[in-house]
């Protein structure tokens, strides 16, 4: 509790300092809270599905840390939630604990993805997203953010909120490309959200960026091809798996 108070205090300092002096943040650590609606992933309707909904909590929460400094970011799983160990989810999707290093200058990212306990190291250029900028605002973790919308992977609708008070143009997972840090992402139709809970202003050294190394090396196109082969006779049941793995 003391720790939490302390963090709130720190983030208040950051807030007030940015508000008064328009001080821009160039390094630090952001904690993201990911929420997945487990009930929405249960497909179909019937007795069994009803029973499953009663046994599963509606939302699963996980935490991730985004370390950033100038034009480099490292996104990886954060603190554990003990409650999640009790969840037995038959519908669990792959690639839920990605480690992603992004060099925003070079527009390159290296992602370590765990797909059904097989690790892949995906090196590729960052995803080109056509963001539509809107006038809508939202305050996230004390920062005023502006909303942008986009469609990725042909069908996934993305709502993102970014702040220009953080110079690093990064974000959680593979979401980048906005003029500032993305502090909130929602995939409303996939029922997943990532929202920053706090920014911790700490000095970040070059050596703090531990570039992921684990897994079979390939690029996104090769991963897509490899998934297509693995799920060749699965039919449409594999669609959610493929989508999650390639996000």
């Amino acid at each position: 509790m003391k720790k939490i108070n302390c963090l709130i205090f720190i983030s208040l300092i950051i807030q007030s300092s940015t508000a008064q002096n328009s001080r821009f943040v160039t390094e630090g650590r952001i904690e993201f809270e990911r929420k997945i609606n487990l009930h929405s992933q249960i497909s179909g309707d019937g007795l069994w599905q009803d029973e499953y909904k009663k046994a599963l909590p509606k939302f699963q929460t996980n935490y991730f840390n985004l370390l950033f400094s100038n034009n480099k970011t490292l996104y990886k799983p954060g603190r554990e939630v003990a409650e999640n160990n009790k969840i037995n989810n038959w519908w669990a999707l792959p690639a839920q604990d990605n480690i992603i290093y992004t060099d925003l200058d070079k527009q390159q990212s290296i992602s370590e993805k765990n797909l059904f306990e097989k690790y892949f190291l995906i090196t590729d250029s960052t995803r080109k997203i056509s963001w539509k900028i809107t006038d809508e605002r939202k305050t996230i973790a004390g920062f005023e953010c502006r909303r942008a919308n986009a469609i990725i992977m042909d069908s996934i609708y993305v709502v993102a909120f970014y702040t220009d008070e953080i110079i690093t143009p990064g974000g959680p997972e593979s979401f980048t490309g906005l003029p500032g840090m993305i502090l909130g992402v929602a995939l409303p139709h996939e029922h997943i959200t990532w929202f920053a809970t706090k920014l911790i202003s700490i000095p970040v050294k070059e050596t703090d960026f531990k570039i992921p190394v684990k897994g079979k090396k390939m690029n996104s196109a090769a991963l897509k091809e490899s998934l297509k082969e693995s799920f060749s006779d699965w039919g449409k049941y594999a669609d959610p798996f493929k989508k999650a793995a390639l996000l």
Binding site: I4, A19, S22, N37, S43, G44, D45, G46, L47, W48, E51, Y52, K54, A55, K58, A82, E83, N85, K86, I87, N88, W91, A92, P94, F116, E117, K118, S130, W131, K132, I133, T134, D135, E136, R137, T139, R146, R147, A148, N149, I151, Y157, V159, D164, E165, I167, P169, G177, P179, A186, P188, H189, H191, T193, S226, L227, S230, S232, D233, Y237
Partner: protein, 930 residues
């Protein structure tokens, strides 16, 4: 080649367009008041037609900015700086041009929050605790209006032009839709949208912080929140299926099913009239209709289970198990509804079934006795009928987020009529006759039962601390009456003039039992990962069995009570059971250990002789479970549990039963509870992407005071048997499965192997006997599936079975059984489909069973889907084309080795028409992922 040309073209396009993207924009920023430069301000260049971000840059320390490499077109310049108003300008860029905006002055945000004047309209507003609730329908909005339009109409809520919502003077931080955050879709990007007319209620409240929701301690942090409660499924509709099938040899299969839904209320009905073995709805239909014979639930481990109630009585259970030719007429009604925000729900089912079955069943048994061998051959002709009515219901009430009540109840009435004829003979080893005879039993029975389970659960203030009370009631009344006529000839003393025994009796049986089982459970969390569960259970089970046999008097009336085969007996037992268990759950380890101790008191009373026996037992119920997850796909698990089983009233009632005078069953009032130890060890490794699966498990169970038989077979071939407690019974079973996929050709291959090693002790003519029976199976399967083309598989397995009884070690039974099962589906153009499957079964003869039991059981059908949405399916099918199907069963786990063959459904050809209809069906059953 075409691809290459295309690629070159694309490259050329990119390069050429890159060449033309050489316009630039620059400028300088300053603050009008402070006259300071604004370093790090964001300069974004948006495409004018759709606001899509094209380029952005940040101003340098002097406030200068420059954007290069711009293609010609119309743009919006958007400049933002914290706490300053946005600067926007629309402009056009020509090729190779350079635009200089010069000095741009930025203005700090003026306090200009433009509040929308809200027109007061009369609508329904309710205050529920801290929540203000608006009934959406009572506020008029135009058709297709957005949620924002609706919110603007609500008194006390304002929406400004940027979309910011203010409620009761405070900024709304969160808008939820049925509890999930709502962002409002961009209609230019997505078609799905929440419209105002989909909203049922708008609730405005202060949401406590997650921390305080988690700890239950209010930390004072609140956020103004709006929750949009959507209307229940807007659509009302129905779906259903009609299946009409007529075949050769009088076979038919007709089925009707309809399911109508209106919001959360569902009413369904079905009817089946069939003589092809179908006795109820298939699993998928049951699941989608929400009606099931089974209790469906989720175990602590997350596995789905289904528990079927077993209401079989001695003799015939009233269900179809493949024996004989059936005729089924059944129908049912289902109703379910949820209301009060889904906090209350009710599920009611009524089913009626009339089932008739007749056929022939041949049993050949080898009696291995210490000094000799008998062969017993029996032919049974049966003709059974049952009428069953069953009503069941479930009511659930979630009082609040912490407590709930669930009541499950069912009532059944059954009326059964059975006619059974037996012709029997017993032969010696050298095929001379020992006895022969025939037997006729005609009986009518009524079974009534009523079961109720009431479960109340409450979460207490501390997270993880819970209490629950579960009270179960089971009542059953079974009455039956019937006639037994049996005539047996015994040739052992003098083959030329056999002695004859005739039994001609009228029998009644009255069986009543009432049981209550109340359990109190308390869970105390020790940490986030571990908890302690304490429970106390009281089981009261009272049962009464009154069996009477009457012989004929001089007038030919069954009036003389035969006391040997009559008894009135009460068996009551009471158990107090209490125990503790500890469980630990982490990411890799799941562990649980506990023990219960039960104090059981038996009161057994022979009501005719007025003898009462009182016995006390202490029973233990130890259990442990451990599982280790190497990864989420690779697990090792171990479990042990010790279980006590009480003897049944039938086993304990000290009466002789002569339903078969050649096999007299005697009850044993001295039976003790049995105790079974069960040990399981398993390992599984699933590689999803490689499509590889490995599974191995071994189970060892051994029983103390196991229920077995004491047999006495006399020289005339008559057997008297009694249930006794024995030690030394065990069984070991093991499974090994390995499946994988190969790429070329694309095939899935699988190997499986299992074994069973059984030891069963019994007593035969005063000597203790141990029968060791083992079986070993090796199997192989291969399958290939191509979506919408084919779905083929081939399965083959071989099983070797052995059995030896210690009373005559020189007699061993051993044989092989082989099965090959191809199963092929081909999908042709124009929605034609061909299915064929076949069972090639080879059953090796043994010295005792030397008749041919090999079978080729071959089925085939052709179907075609027609009409819009494939609504109609026409199918021509052939069942058992070669007319070889045969019911078959062998039992080798004691010194009585038997083989059983029976009448079953054989060859017929059928034409079926299946019509699927639906209106507004919101769901597709085949969407279910597993």
């Amino acid at each position: 080649m075409r691809k290459l040309v295309l690629l070159l073209f694309i490259i050329f396009e990119i390069v050429s367009s890159a060449y033309s993207q050489n316009a630039s924009v620059k400028g300088m920023l300053s603050d009008t008041i402070g006259k300071t430069n604004l370093p790090n301000a964001v300069i974004s260049l948006l495409q004018a037609k759709d606001s899509v971000l094209q380029k952005y840059s940040r101003a340098n320390e002097h406030g200068d900015f420059e954007l290069n490499g711009i293609a010609k077109g119309k743009y919006i310049l958007l400049i933002t700086y914290p706490n300053y108003a946005d600067y926007t300008d629309t402009f056009s860029v020509a090729e190779n041009s350079s635009i200089n905006f010069g000095m741009i002055s930025m203005i700090t945000k003026a306090h200009l929050l433009q509040e929308v004047v809200v027109r007061q309209s009369i609508g329904t507003i309710r205050l529920k605790g801290d929540t203000t609730e608006y009934k959406a329908d009572s506020f008029h909005v135009p058709a297709n209006a957005s949620v924002e339009d609706l919110l603007k109409k609500l008194p006390g809520i304002q929406v400004d032009k940027t979309g910011q919502i203010t409620a009761q003077g405070e900024k709304v931080q969160k808008v939820l839709v049925d509890g999930e955050e709502f962002f409002g879709d961009d209609p230019t990007l997505v078609t799905q949208n929440i419209r105002a007319d989909m909203v049922d209620k708008v609730q405005v409240f202060d949401k406590k912080s997650d921390q305080s929701t988690f700890t239950g301690i209010d930390d004072g942090q609140k956020t103004k929140t709006i929750n949009l409660k959507l209307k229940d499924d807007k659509k009302n509709g129905y779906f259903g299926k009609i299946n009409a099938g007529g075949g050769t040899d009088g076979y038919f299969d007709n089925q009707v099913m309809i399911n109508s839904f209106k919001r959360k209320q569902k009413i369904a009905a079905f009817g089946i009239v069939s003589n092809t073995g179908k006795t109820g709805l298939g699993w998928q239909d049951q699941n989608s209709m929400g009606m099931s014979d089974a209790v469906t639930g989720i175990s602590d481990d997350g596995y789905m289970y289904q528990a079927y109630d077993n209401d079989d009585i001695t003799g015939w259970g009233g269900r179809y198990n493949g024996q004989g030719k059936p005729l089924v007429q059944t129908g049912g009604l289902h109703f379910n509804n949820k209301w009060n925000d889904d906090k209350q729900s009710i599920n009611l089912n009524y089913k009626a079934l009339q089932f008739m079955v007749d056929g022939e069943n041949k049993t050949n048994t080898e009696y291995i006795l210490p000094d000799t061998l008998y062969y017993n051959n029996q032919t049974q002709n049966f003709n059974n009928k049952i009428l069953r009515n069953k009503l069941n219901g479930t009511y659930e009430f979630q009082f609040d987020s912490t407590s709930s009540l669930k009541i499950v109840t069912d009532g059944t009435t059954e009326h059964k009529s059975t006619i059974n004829n037996y012709i029997t003979e017993a032969l010696t080893k050298s095929s001379t006759i020992v006895n022969n005879g025939n037997r006729n039993i005609t009986a009518d029975g009524d079974n009534n039962s009523l079961n109720t389970d009431i479960l109340w659960r409450k979460k207490l203030h501390k997270k993880g601390r819970t209490i629950s009370i579960d009270v179960k009631e089971n009542y059953s009344l079974k009455t039956s009456a019937g006639k037994l006529f049996s005539k047996n000839n015994f040739y052992n003393s003098d083959p030329a003039s056999p002695s004859t025994q005739i039994t001609d009796q009228y029998k009644t049986s009255n069986n009543k039992s009432l049981a209550f089982d109340s359990k109190f459970t308390y869970t105390e969390p020790l940490s986030t990962a571990s908890s302690l569960v304490a429970n106390y259970e009281l089981i009261v089970n009272n049962s009464l069995s009154n069996r009477s046999s009457f012989n004929k008097d001089a007038n030919g009336l069954y009036n003389i009570l035969d006391s040997t085969y009559s008894n009135n007996y009460t068996f009551n037992y009471l158990t107090h059971k209490t125990g503790l268990s500890y469980s630990f759950i982490s990411k890799k380890i799941k562990f649980n250990i506990g023990n219960n101790i039960g104090f059981t008191n038996f009161i057994q009373q022979d009501n005719n002789a007025n003898i009462q026996t009182n016995r006390n037992f202490i029973n233990w119920f130890p259990q442990t479970r451990f599982s280790y997850s190497f990864t989420s796909q690779k697990h090792l698990y171990f479990s042990y549990n010790g279980n006590t089983a009480q003897p049944s009233l039938q086993q304990i009632q000290p009466v002789k039963t002569n339903d078969d005078p050649l096999n007299i069953v005697v009850g044993n009032a001295a039976l003790k509870p049995s105790f079974t130890n069960n040990i399981n060890l398993g390992f599984e490794d699933y590689k999803t992407l490689e499509n590889r699966f490995f599974y191995a498990s071994i189970n060892y169970r051994f029983t103390e005071n196991a229920f077995s038989n004491n047999n006495n077979v006399d020289s005339s071939g008559r057997r008297v048997l009694q249930t006794i407690n024995v030690n030394g019974n065990y069984s070991i079973t093991g499974y090994l499965n390995y499946y994988f996929k190969i790429k070329k050709p694309e095939l899935r291959l699988g190997f499986n192997s299992n074994f069973g090693i059984d030891q069963n002790a019994n007593i035969i003519n005063g000597l203790s006997n141990i029968t060791n029976s083992n079986n070993y199976t090796f199997g192989f399967n291969v399958s290939q599936s191509k979506e919408k083309k084919l779905d083929n598989s081939l399965r083959a397995d071989a099983t070797y079975t052995t059995s030896t009884s210690s009373v005559q070690q020189n007699i061993t039974t051993h044989y092989w059984t082989y099965t090959i099962h191809p199963d092929l589906d081909f999908y042709f153009p124009k929605k034609w489909h061909l299915h064929t499957d076949c069972d090639f079964i080879y059953r090796q003869k043994t010295s005792a069973f030397d008749n041919n039991n090999n079978v080729i059981f071959w089925n085939l059908w052709f179907d075609k889907k027609v009409l819009k949405n494939d609504a109609l399916l026409i199918r021509v099918s052939a069942n058992d084309i070669l007319n070889q199907n045969k019911g078959f069963n062998r039992t080798v786990n004691s010194n009585f080795i038997s083989q059983n063959t029976y009448t079953t459904i054989q060859r017929y050809f059928m034409l079926s028409v299946i019509w699927n209809f639906n209106k507004n069906n919101p769901k597709k059953d085949d969407d279910w992922r597993y």
